[in-house]
């Protein structure tokens, strides 16, 4: 019995659909049931949360969780559909400590907000960056530059007058 079938058997109300993501079993689950399902997934032996990503489909966001079990040597993919206007899903930091930085990265680049995250700030881009670059409606025409402030902090500006050579 594959991991998705087991999940469907244990929590039939939470699983929307199942399938394959490449060669990994995949299950789309309800957003409200995420913490419930994640707890069950951890009980099933998936001790490693390897990747969290997000995708912008213009009318909704999709958050993808990749799990791995070191004992069973099995993969599992969970997908959650989030609203496009207010993309919010529950944080998994209470179950997997490694979710901390992965969720910060997904917040930084895709703009998904994880409720219950202890420190949801940008991880790659500097604070003050305008927009989330992997969203489809990100403004590519306004170029943003970074300069160093007096205390060594990053300052984001759109004109770059302190950085660029004057000609």
């Amino acid at each position: 019995m594959s991991a998705t079938d087991e999940l469907k058997q244990k929590l039939p109300a939470a699983v929307v659909s199942t399938g394959m993501q490449g060669n990994k079993p995949m299950a789309v689950i309800k957003k409200e049931e995420l913490l419930n399902v994640a707890g069950k997934v951890k009980e099933m032996g998936f001790d490693h949360l390897s990747v969290i990503t997000g995708t912008d489909y213009k009318d909704h966001f999709e958050v993808v969780y990749n799990f791995y079990s070191y004992n069973k040597k099995q993969n599992l993919v969970l997908k959650v559909i989030a609203d496009h206007d207010k993309p919010e899903v529950d944080s998994l930091t209470s179950l997997w400590k490694g979710a901390d930085w992965l969720e910060r990265e997904t917040y930084d680049l895709v703009g998904i907000r994880f409720t219950g995250h202890p420190n949801l700030v940008r991880i790659l881009l500097p604070d003050g960056w305008i927009g989330h670059p992997l969203q489809k409606d990100y403004d590519m025409n306004t170029e943003q530059f970074v300069t160093i402030g007096e205390k060594g902090e990053d300052i984001v500006s759109t004109d770059g007058s302190n950085l660029l050579r004057r000609k």
Partner: protein, 204 residues
């Protein structure tokens, strides 16, 4: 003339073609002329009043290009090729460049080796401003020259020459150590023609 089965042809030597032995340089001026780099010393002697200036330019240029010390800084995969250039096989010690200084205060040259991201750009600029004059910059690879494959990225600077002046651009992704050496030789040619002496046409 047969001796033991071998035939030996008589050899005639044309004594007029033998050049006299080169005179060994003794004085400091003769030694300078002997390097070949300072070849306008004689020409400058004939132009009274400009002797000192043009000669010092050339001596300084020669000294500068003979010991270019690069700053230890690498940004991406081009830095790996830079390390390869410094190793024994390609050996930039031949150009007096084997000492990668760990401090920009002691460096003359900066290799911008790799992708200059928006976040790294002010740091690269600060590093350049820390270096004492005279200083030179080589932009290594397509990323540092123009942005390269990341030209449409939101997070990459489109060429390091937007923030600091660049002397030599080395194309490649990443450039091989041979390309590095060619770029270094181009920079040496450039340094050789710097200063007022070159502007007045004295550095021939």
């Amino acid at each position: 003339m047969e001796e033991g089965g071998f035939r030996v042809d008589p050899v005639t030597i044309d004594t007029t073609k033998i050049k006299p032995a080169k005179k060994k340089p003794v004085t400091a001026l003769e030694k300078l002329e002997d390097t070949g780099l300072i070849n306008t010393v004689l020409a400058a002697r004939e132009r009274e009043g400009m002797i000192l200036f043009s000669t010092i330019d050339q001596v300084f240029n020669w000294a500068r290009l003979s010991s270019l010390w690069p700053v230890t800084s690498g940004l991406a995969c081009c830095a790996i090729e830079m390390m390869g250039t410094a190793m024994a096989h390609h050996d930039i010690a031949r150009f007096g460049m084997e000492i990668f200084r760990a401090s920009p205060r002691q460096s003359d040259l900066m290799f911008v080796a790799g992708t200059v991201t928006k976040k790294m750009a002010p740091r690269v600029k600060q590093l350049y401003e820390m270096m004492p004059d005279p200083k030179w910059v080589i932009a290594v690879g397509s990323c540092a020259s123009t942005g390269g494959p990341y030209i449409e990225s939101y997070a990459v600077l489109k060429g390091v020459d937007l923030i600091i002046p660049v002397d030599v651009y080395i194309p490649g992704c990443p450039p091989r150590p041979e390309a590095f050496l060619y770029g270094i030789i181009q920079l040496r040619e450039k340094i050789k023609n710097e200063g007022y002496g070159a502007k007045w046409g004295l550095n021939k």
